[in-house]
Symmetry: C2
Subunit: 222 residues, 2 copies
Amino acid sequence: MTVFDDELQHLKEKLLRMGSLVEDAVKNSIIALVDRDNTLAQLVIENDRQVNTLDVEIDEESIRLIALRQPMATDLRFITMAMKITTDMERVGDLAVNIAERALELNTEPMLKPYIDIPKMRDIAQGMIRDALNAFVKKDKKLAMDVIMRDDEVDDLKHDVLQELAVFMAQDPTTVSRAMKISFVAQYLERIADHATNIAEMVIYFVDGKIIRHMAPPAEEK
Amino acid sequence: MTVFDDELQHLKEKLLRMGSLVEDAVKNSIIALVDRDNTLAQLVIENDRQVNTLDVEIDEESIRLIALRQPMATDLRFITMAMKITTDMERVGDLAVNIAERALELNTEPMLKPYIDIPKMRDIAQGMIRDALNAFVKKDKKLAMDVIMRDDEVDDLKHDVLQELAVFMAQDPTTVSRAMKISFVAQYLERIADHATNIAEMVIYFVDGKIIRHMAPPAEEK
């Protein structure tokens, strides 16, 4: 192992640490919502600082590596992609914070209904984030493709959630404020899945040197 | 001017071209909504392909420049930031497409009410995108700071829009579907302003080598 190999390995580990923090944030934000757990919601909000610190550290380390080691071809592509991927992951962290904020607000009012599709959306989105990042670190194109395929499931679930909420609001005006907040949560989860999709598309680009980004017609923030 | 200066200049021009396409998309998507103009909405959706092409081209050109010219310090920082900024701009383009899609849907139903705050949000958000990008290209820290300050105005307007829509929905169930779609538009505009803020934060980081990203507590996808 050269010093540069060590440094690259270190960068990968930081990226995976950022990924696992972000994954936990998504998971816990939805637990905070479903279990009406304010303490956990606060924890998600506080922990976002760690994600932001890693974001800046990875950027700095990447620029330093490029400047000092002048890596060519695959390594250069890996490092620049890492910098782009942290942008997506940092946003996912922010979205988990947004979910936690809505959870705190929703916890001050009676529960509208038990959550069924939202935890399903969370399951899929969280898995997408994990797999997209693993696909990047392992250069696993097949796994990246698989992540992209799962995005439609999240979109379908979001559609169902919004339909159901619209019925609540139309039937009972007192539900409007809560239903709107829950609709925001569904949208945050959809965007988390979109960020995972973006990462997966970059992985395929990175492994192949081939661009599949933007081949599909634009959907919700795809 | 060296060849490298030329190449950097070319990269800047591409970035500005991408910026002006994205700015037009935001402007036109809201005109399509306010004037109920389906043709213009379709145009926004079709033109997004050009934004996506530029996104990939800027990435490719950046990686090529780093590999061939091995730029140091400021230039390297500029090029890597350009790659990160295109990620934000590409998302802004997608959000304009989302607005155009909602416009097409809303145009099939009677108008809920004249739009007042949404065009105001659009004005501010569009100016933020333009100024954030100019701040980057001119390394103008003061302009970048100014962009960041404007984000609160957009958040406040979004808040007002959502409040007003909640009243509509609570008073008249037949407005629910339209009001939800308009609430999505308000959120898309807020996210467009957030992307401009992200870019402005990166500019300050780039000019100073100092990190102001993530210094404020996390707000809506800040």
